[in-house]
């Protein structure tokens, strides 16, 4: 997958941001390292409406980082910067989070970590049949509807 919209600098920043949004878990690397960055870049190519909020959020993160680049901040300070941006512009930031989740949770390896062994079709799921005996109490209720 090649970049479409984001510059190398923006891609690098987004990777770091995504790693804070969805950190590593068990054997799974954090979202950015896992490849969510390029997936989001592809979303930006396909859906131009996403560009403004995501680019706005990334710029705001750079600005809030101050003289020290986000990449050079320690983990606690990175989270602090992200919280500040979230509070200042919740709309743009929530879109950044949403697209990160979109890229992360559509990956088969992430789904497998949740016990999902494939998409819903064609297999579906086999569930127990309805047991009418469970209705015994309700069947004995008086009629609840008004005739008219």
């Amino acid at each position: 997958m090649t970049a479409h919209i984001l510059t190398p600098e923006e891609l690098a920043l987004l990777t770091l941001v995504q790693n804070e949004l969805v950190p590593a878990y068990g054997d799974l690397p954090a979202a950015g390292t896992l490849g969510a960055t390029l997936t989001v870049d592809a979303y930006l190519a396909e859906q131009p409406r996403l560009r403004r909020p995501l680019l706005t959020a990334l710029r705001a993160i750079e600005v809030r980082s101050g003289k020290t680049p986000f990449a050079e901040l320690d983990a606690g300070r990175r989270v602090e910067v992200l919280r500040q941006v979230e509070n200042a512009d919740p709309e743009s930031f929530s879109e950044l989070v949403k697209q990160t989740y979109n890229a992360y949770y559509t990956r088969p390896d992430v789904q497998a970590s949740l016990g999902i062994d494939g998409p819903p079709q064609p297999m579906g799921f086999r569930l127990p049949a309805f047991d009418e005996s469970r209705l015994a109490r309700v069947r004995a209720m008086e009629k609840l509807w008004r005739d008219a």
Partner: protein, 538 residues
């Protein structure tokens, strides 16, 4: 000189739940029927269920909101004046292409709210008048469920048995049995066993709301349309209607529409039937101005577009310690609780509500808040929070009866248009005081249920923005031409060869999903029109 031959006997605008049923019914009688549909057939390959990114379809290609989905065949809606956004699908089969398939019937009292409770208006017919058409419709589409519910009048055996009963049902049942409340397995427009042609029974894959790739969902494009086409109905897709045309006497003569090449065409018919939903139908009538109808066709009363009703919906979700696998099985088709359906003034409001005890969604939608309205937090807590909700959550939809109020309405936007330059609808709506009191009470009852069921966390979205599936009341039925647009047969008071048969017709909204009633009403109107066509078209 002989009158020029008409293109069709009956022209239907819209191919969704009502248009499909009417096309089938009218063509059975040998009438020449044409249906204009602005959308297309949804291709089986369009469905996302076999892809790992299937949940993205909720945000993109199968988004509920046409303003978000933005298919070429969608039209924009100005929804800046409503907290509930109108939702619809513009395709063959209409909004039944992706829906939850809840298929309850209204109760007898729902048709007599003025007589029984002193509010709104009575319908011009009773439940019992409609009952044969409910039965006919069920037999055509295929319904899963179980007769014998003490919450509703007796009904004919369902075509297929109730859907599966799993861990999430057990969780709900703990609460229901402790509280002693009513519940019953839902009637669903979703087959659990073989029924009909080229359809497979539900295999419980889960996300019905992004369509059904196996034909288990009883959507109009897999139920009525194959039969209607076999009977000779002409279905023209990518046909965007601009206006209904009238002659000097004020009778409908047909429609002007844009075809798939953008060419503006005319289609003439003896009768025009509007089936474009509770927003689309008033939009087109309001856009059909003439010397005889300067305020829009059949709108000298000013009632077209007024009395818009939604079903205001709250989502209440319970998170359980145990795995309930709410993402497995039909998302909506589980159980109903109608303990609070009929009026009890001690509650502080008239009319009532139902609790739709439903399932949940996959991990992406859980992470984004999806059905819950509460995104999972990012950062160090993310994974534990996600895992506490995913596969551990069940969601109840609290569905309220919405009373008709003239200020809630569909008008034409003065600036916004669709791709063909046709004015877009503007929707203005606010929930009335009765609704707000009922909403508060009903959310408290859903909380009570989840507490009794042992939920460890309860999440509430008190008024769901993306819940405007049910578009009702904007060309309402009634006997009084000053307070209604059509009579009990769907016939416009002011234009006797114009009929309306979709959700616009509803005099009141009841507190249940409307599609089975929409189709039953459409069949009843079409039956009358079919028997009286010559007199109506003369």
């Amino acid at each position: 000189m002989a009158a020029p031959e008409l293109d069709s006997d009956v022209l239907i605008v819209g191919s969704g739940a009502s248009g499909a049923a009417a096309a089938w019914s009218l063509s059975r009688r040998g009438l020449r029927v044409t249906c204009l549909e602005q959308g297309r057939w949804v291709d089986p390959s369009d469905y996302a269920h076999s892809r790992p990114d299937y949940e993205l379809a909720r945000q993109t290609s199968f988004a509920k909101d046409p303003n978000v989905r933005s298919w070429a065949e969608d039209y924009p809606i100005n929804n800046s004046g409503t907290p509930i956004h109108p939702l619809m699908v513009n395709a063959v089969g209409g909004s039944t292409v992706h829906w939850s398939g809840h298929f309850p019937r209204m109760r007898p009292s729902d048709f007599r709210v003025k007589t029984l409770d002193g509010v709104a208006d009575d319908w011009p017919f009773t439940y019992w008048d409609l009952e044969p058409y409910y039965d006919l419709n069920d037999s055509m589409v295929g319904v899963s469920g179980l007769a014998g519910d003490p919450g509703n009048p007796p009904r004919s055996p369902r075509q297929t048995p109730p859907l599966a009963f799993d861990a999430g049902c057990e969780a709900y049942l703990r609460g229901l049995e402790k509280l002693g409340w009513h519940w019953w397995p839902c009637d669903n427009a979703l087959i659990s066993e073989p029924f009909g042609e080229n359809r497979s029974p539900c295999n419980c894959c889960g996300p019905c709301d992004i369509g059904c790739p196996i034909g288990a969902m009883s959507s109009a494009h897999v139920t009525y349309w194959p039969k209607a086409l076999a009977q000779g109905v002409q279905l023209i897709t990518h046909a965007r209607v601009e206006q209904i045309t009238v002659d000097r006497a004020g009778r409908a003569t047909g429609a002007l529409y844009y075809d798939d090449q953008g060419v503006r065409r005319s289609h003439t018919a003896g009768v025009v039937v509007m089936a474009a939903n509770g927003v689309g139908t008033p939009r087109l009538l309001l856009n059909s101005t003439s010397a005889r109808f300067p305020n829009g066709l059949a709108n000298n009363s000013g009632v077209v577009g007024a009395y818009l009703m939604f079903h205001p919906v709250a989502f209440v979700s319970g998170v359980f310690e145990e795995v309930v696998n709410g993402q497995r099985g039909p998302i909506g088709g589980l159980m109903n609780c109608q303990e609070f359906y009929e009026t009890d003034l001690a509650r502080g409001f008239v009319r009532g509500f139902e609790l739709q005890l439903s399932r949940s969604v996959g991990p992406l939608s859980v992470a984004n808040g999806g059905i819950l309205g509460h995104p999972v937090p990012w950062g160090s807590e993310h994974h534990e929070a996600l895992r506490s909700r995913y596969a551990h959550t069940m969601t109840t939809s609290v569905m309220l009866e919405d009373l008709p109020e003239p200020e809630n309405r569909v008008t034409l936007d003065p600036e916004l248009t669709d791709a063909h330059g046709i004015p877009a609808p503007r929707v203005e709506y606010r929930a009335g005081e009765n609704t707000q009191r009922m909403l508060e009470f009903s959310i408290a009852r859903a909380r009570e249920l989840f507490e009794a069921a042992g939920a460890v966390e309860i999440l509430v979205d008190p008024l769901v923005q993306e819940s405007g599936w049910h578009l009702m009341g904007t060309c309402r039925m009634g006997d009084d031409p000053e307070r209604s647009v059509i009579n009990g047969w769907g016939q416009a008071h002011e234009c006797p060869n114009l009929f309306v048969i979709d959700g616009s017709t509803f005099t009141t909204s009841a507190a249940v999903n409307p599609t089975s009633t929409i189709q039953a009403v459409a069949l009843r109107c079409a039956d009358w029109l079919g028997r009286n066509y010559r007199a109506v078209a003369a």
